[in-house]
Structure formats: structure tokens, C-alpha cells
Symmetry: C2
């Protein structure tokens, strides 16, 4: 890290560099950290580019929050406890002022402090606005949740509500006529962390993935890597009442195929469903059953209520793909 | 990671994803890795942007090699053994073709395979050409080399030769009249890894830093964080004969202040100098003594031989700074 850049980072990120397990934080060629004994480490990297992953003109505070939440969603999906992270920033010269770094830092810290995750390194360069975060988390040995371990007969669940990510994108889009919605704004920039749910699911779920590309696309990843099929019932899919009411023609489609939901989709063997129901009843996890893992391949969407107008067969599992 | 991108990465990076300590590599929400018991982890992140850190038109193979070497230089400076790395790529749509990814992958693997370092994760987005690598390495507990632990009376050493990074940049610059030099080209795109030197220095050096911003700037980091001063003798500084001959007016200045050398600068207590000399004599490390740590602050450059025309006092320690 260079001198001037380092000074900027040192000044503004100090509050989130001193958590536990950091032997030597920012300020050397690399950080030195101490994982707890006998645990597996979980590592994930995600980049957000202006105009691709967040709208032009996003406030640095919001960029910081979103960058953290999107990355932490992968940790939640693995059932990992996030411990440390690094940030690589590319910032245009005209916005690279103290105030901007201070606000970005506030956004990162706001989320990182909620889960005691320490910033241990970074790099700042002058270029188009982009932020890459690498998170390192921990799980007890052999307990990481995977996507390739779903089995025929498992029940399929999702956390929270779906379709809000796509609704937020619609709200940000040019020509949008719906009024500003604080709930969707907050969902987009600080989707609720599912870390705690992920930790609890380690003992219950047979597989787990986070929904970043859309339910069907991500569930298809689970199916193809596990060698199974999935049948989901669109009348069971949880959609927020506001989203359903404000976007009656789109909400179900968005819940199935929209991206940026950052909820967990997980499978639970029959024998563990009672434990899960208890956790749901006691308020420890907010999850809804939406379908079943079956033999075969691919994702089938049915409508047991016949109440939905959605009849389109799912043939495109790609979700959002930057190079498609 | 998205589907299309993932397929590209999966296809081309497979050769460098299966090293030891990888429980679950690319293909899930995050990788699961197993550090050896009782060790400290060392983490470092570095970004390279086109036009800033490498010339426009750099071949993907060369970009891959340079990105790895620059990042691994931080591991060498910490005395760490690199184990795992992640890659975040931003690639313009027009060059994001199979062949380009294959060649980049060749470059990354070429270096990673030399040191048994495994690719465990990544993210690919469409945008201006940039590559961010995060490396995770290991050191026995408490043995990481730091920059804030130099003491008065320690001797100052550097590995290899200095000034080659700046000479390479000059060769790449517009208007350069010197002929193409394969040695400088290779130094720029694949600076010699000093990992092995770093591992050996753990038992000998009192402090260590890698020279990325220039000898004086980086040695100044050691001095300011250790609370000491340094006196270096410019007649002792190792400069490659070709660089000295081809750039007689610049080579010493470049060796002192040029960037991109990726050598190690380290300090050794008097009591350990005999061990170091033995290692140098036996060919285990290529290092040259250039000065002494003294009381005070700042870096002083003297010329004991009086042979150099260099008399400029060092007042600017900033090195190369993107936001200066």
C-alpha cells in the first residue's frame, strides 16, 4: 500500500481494524491474523462496479453498506461466521477526497461492526469507481453449508421475501413512475444480513445458497451440482405485501427470476423439518417452505392455488450474467 | 459468482484450484480451506489497473504473471508461505473471450504452480481492465516479518538489484529510444519471487519490507514505523551492469527512488550477520549490505566512494502515490 493512500485508509478505517484475532492490522505489507484452532476457513470475493452493480451517483455510505452486505451474503450461505475482510478500491480522482473516504468507511463499519468483522487490509487506486471485498470467515471443521449436497425428498425453504431486489432496481430505473420507497431503498443498499440464520442452519440444512441471481437460477445451481431436480410452488413464494400490491404484474416474476434478493435458499431433510419449524415458531429464523427436491434435473414451477397468472415454463436458468 | 462467468473460470483455472488445504474450491458461494494447525495467517490484497499498473495492450499471459508476482511480493516481505488466492477481474466486453481468459489463466498458473498456491475463488465483471488478487499465506505463530521492528545498529540489506523496475517503465514509455531488453521485460512482468528468501529471513531479519515504491520511500516506512533512522551508502547499492551501462544518468536515481523493483529490503542485527553471510555465500539468498539503522528519523544517503555524481538530498519519501 502506498503512503498517501495508506494515510487515508488508516485515518478513516481505524474503528474497524481492531477486532479480535488481528495480530497485525493495516500498515504492513500484509495483515497477520489468528484463526481459532481447528476450524475451517471460508473465503469469498465479490466486486461491485458503478453502473453495473449500483447506480451512478450512489452515496459512499450506501456503497459501503451494500458492498459489505453483498459479500457477507456468501458467508451466510456457507454457514460461516465472518471474521476479517480486505477492501480494494478504485476511485476516480475527482471524488477521491477525505469526505468521500470517511463516508464510505462509515458505511463499511456500520455493517462490519454489527458482526464484529475486522478490516485487515486494502488497496486504493485511481480509476473507475469499483470496490472489491474479500471476506474470510470460520466454520467448525466439516460443517460448511454447500450447494452440492441436496437430496431427493428434501424440503426447499427461503428466508425473508423475494422480488424486492428487482423491485428496487425498477425503482432506480429511468422512467420509473412509482414513488420512492424507503423499504426498497434500504433493501437494496443494506439487505438484511442472514449470518445468524446461516449459523443456525448448519445443524439443519442439507444444502444452502444465497439468492443473488434470482430464485430459479440459484436453485438451479443447487440442482445441477447436487444431481437432483426441484419443484417449487409459486403460490407459496413469500412476497412482501407492498411489492405485491405496488407491482401486481411483476412481483411473482421478480420473485422467481429477479436478482439482488440476498436471501438464503436452503434444503432440509424430512427428519429435520420439525426442528426447523420450532426455530421458525420461536422467531430464530424467518423462513418459508416453497417446494421439494425431486429426482431428475432442472427446476419446475407449479401453481397449486391456480391463483397466479404466471404460467411461463422456466427454460432460462442463467439469471443475470455479465457476459451473457 | 454468476453462471456464464463461472463457466469461464471453471474451465480455465482448473489446473490451479486443486492444491493442498482446499476442502471446497471454486463453485460454491465461497471456498472452504484448511490452514495448518497453530499457524498465523497472512493476508494481502493488491489491485492492478490498465494504464496505471501495466501498459495498455499488455498480453493477458503477462498480466497474469505480473498480478501474481506483485501480490506474492507482499507475502515474501512477511516471511509467509502463500497457500491460497482469489482473483477479482474487471474485463471490457470486447476482450472477454475464451482465448483471453485462457491466456490470463496460463499466466496466473505459471507463477502459482511454482509455489503450490491454489486459486480458491473469484469474481468476474464487465468493466475497465483491472485485476485484484487477495493472497492468504501462513507463518509459524509469531514469526511474521514486520516493518516496525528495526533497531538501531541493525545492518540494512536488499535482495537482487535495484532500478530495474524504473528502467522497464522507461523502456515501455513513449519516446523511448533504447532498444527492447528481454531482461527488463521479464523483470517487469515476472519479477523474481523472493518467497524462499522471506522464509529464510524469518530466523535472521529484525524487519522486512518489499520495495514497490522505491528503496528510499520503502525504507522510510521501516524507519517511521520502527522509530529509527537509516543511513545508506549509494556506492553499495546493487545495480545490474546492463542497467548501469544503458542508463548511466538515471540508474542510481532509479535504484534509490524508482518503483516496481519487488526486491526485499531487510534489517539484520549484528549478531545475525554471520549467519546471513553464510547463507549468501552458500547461495541460499542473493542479498547486499547497503547501510545501517541509526538513531533519529528519516533516510540519509551518503556516498563513501565519492564516485557517484548523485548528491541530491532525500527530502521526498513519498514514492509513487496515486493520489499525490
Amino acid at each position: 500500500m502506498r503512503d498517501g493512500e495508506f494515510a487515508i485508509i488508516e485515518r478513516h478505517f481505524k474503528g474497524i481494524t481492531q477486532q479480535s484475532g488481528v495480530l497485525k492490522g493495516i500498515g504492513d505489507d500484509a495483515a497477520v491474523i489468528k484463526p481459532d484452532a481447528g476450524l475451517d476457513l471460508v473465503v469469498s470475493t465479490d466486486s461491485l462496479l458503478e453502473g453495473v452493480h449500483f447506480p451512478d451517483g450512489t452515496r459512499p455510505m450506501d456503497l459501503g453498506r451494500r458492498a459489505m452486505c453483498v459479500n457477507l451474503s456468501d458467508m451466510a450461505a456457507m454457514g460461516a461466521k465472518p471474521r476479517w475482510f480486505t477492501v480494494a478500491l478504485s476511485v476516480p480522482r475527482d471524488i477521491a477526497v477525505e469526505k468521500w473516504f470517511a463516508e464510505l468507511s462509515d458505511g463499511l463499519s456500520y455493517i462490519a461492526n454489527q458482526i464484529d468483522c475486522a478490516l485487515v487490509g486494502g488497496d486504493t487506486t485511481c480509476g473507475p469507481l469499483a470496490i472489491t471485498i474479500t471476506v474470510i470467515g470460520q466454520v467448525p471443521s466439516g460443517t460448511a453449508l454447500r450447494r452440492d449436497t441436496a437430496e431427493v425428498g428434501d424440503h426447499i425453504y427461503v428466508t425473508g421475501t423475494l422480488g424486492d431486489g428487482a423491485a428496487a432496481l425498477d425503482m432506480f430505473s429511468i422512467g420509473n413512475t412509482n414513488s420512492f420507497c424507503e423499504r426498497l431503498f434500504e433493501h437494496f443498499y443494506a439487505p438484511r444480513l442472514r449470518i445468524e440464520s446461516g449459523l443456525r442452519l448448519r445443524e439443519i440444512a442439507s444444502s444452502c445458497i444465497d439468492i443473488s441471481d434470482g430464485l430459479v437460477a440459484d436453485l438451479h445451481h443447487v440442482c445441477s451440482s447436487s444431481g437432483v431436480a426441484a419443484e417449487i410452488d409459486c403460490s407459496l413464494i413469500p412476497i412482501h405485501a407492498h411489492t405485491r400490491r405496488n407491482y401486481p404484474d411483476h412481483s411473482l416474476h421478480w420473485a422467481l427470476s429477479g436478482g439482488d434478493d440476498y436471501q438464503l435458499c436452503f434444503t432440509v431433510p424430512e427428519r429435520a423439518t420439525e426442528s426447523l419449524k420450532k426455530m421458525i415458531f420461536e422467531g430464530h429464523i424467518d423462513a418459508t417452505r416453497i417446494g421439494l427436491i425431486t429426482a431428475g434435473d432442472g427446476v419446475t414451477v407449479i401453481d397449486s392455488s391456480k391463483a397466479n397468472t404466471f404460467t411461463q415454463e422456466i427454460t432460462d436458468y442463467s439469471g443475470y450474467d455479465h457476459f451473457a
